[in-house]
Symmetry: C3
């Protein structure tokens, strides 16, 4: 038996991207509404009926959001190339730095239908960017 | 190769909750629209092209829904503290009692963006509440 | 650490289905808007910050979509009984035939809330239909 609890948020941001295909539009400064979800896995505490109170996760995610929302992602320190994969890594690293035992991070864009999921164990080293 | 088939439903319900943070609002009687999804895993029957006909699952979920929709969750027998984790357990136990081989249950609230997923094997004992 | 990237699309199609329950309506020619998602799993390339550029996946999915959208699914070669399970298999086979290393395919219908997920390893043989 395994529980996962998660919290979603969104941020609006600009970026550029170097790509092999769809190259010209990606190189222009443009923007997206990004949706993200952070997941914690663990046992349910019988006393509270919860894995963790998601209110604590929301406090951390608000801080992460401030570093991404209404920013040019190309210039966000520690993000690297502003891909969905690197956004997942960025959010995961920030939660770990705050001692939050994150199990998965997802980033997606509703309009285009693309999505990225990063799943990790506590032992996984997250690469610096 | 592994198939999972699932059925979503929703219910509107009231509850209160004892919490460390966001405590005052949670203690007042309030309500949410809950969304839930029950998942069955298994092989595909080559004769029907299905794992299981989801119409059968919908019949069971309708019965579970009647025990939650337009109720004060604090008073639902066997639910315990009305958290998303306990709602997942409740729905899973009801499906098992009806001999439905549930593999996962998810409960989420769209407005707030919080979500819980319970995954289980047939051997897992589901705790009573 | 594990990354999954995925692309969603939709198609509108007609079908009939032989079923034990909800039988009369299913036997009539009717239609649905289907949503589908194809997922690729793998490591992130540090040079690009991506698992794979989803633009490549979109090119393949456009070809798959043309074989399903605005068709009577009963008559689509190689689909078999037009269930969500067989639609997952169909999409997975077409992506493999195009040498795309698909890890999972999901098909769902928003109005009814039903969904199917097929997960596979590179070693899994996908049955012909």
């Amino acid at each position: 038996m395994r529980f996962e609890v998660s919290q979603e948020f969104y941020f609006d941001a600009a970026h550029t991207l170097e790509r092999e295909i769809e190259a010209a539009g990606s190189r222009r400064i443009h923007g997206h509404t990004y949706h993200a979800r952070a997941t914690v896995a663990g046992p349910r505490d019988p006393a509270t009926g919860m894995v963790v109170d998601l209110g604590h996760l929301r406090v951390q995610l608000k801080k992460v959001r401030e570093q991404l929302d209404h920013h040019l992602l190309d210039e966000v320190p520690g993000l690297g190339a502003p891909t969905m994969e690197n956004l997942c890594l960025f959010i995961a690293r920030k939660l770990r730095e705050a001692d939050f035992p994150v199990h998965a991070v997802e980033v997606w864009r509703k309009a285009g239908g693309d999505r990225c999921r990063l799943e990790m164990t506590p032992e996984d080293q997250l690469p610096g960017l």
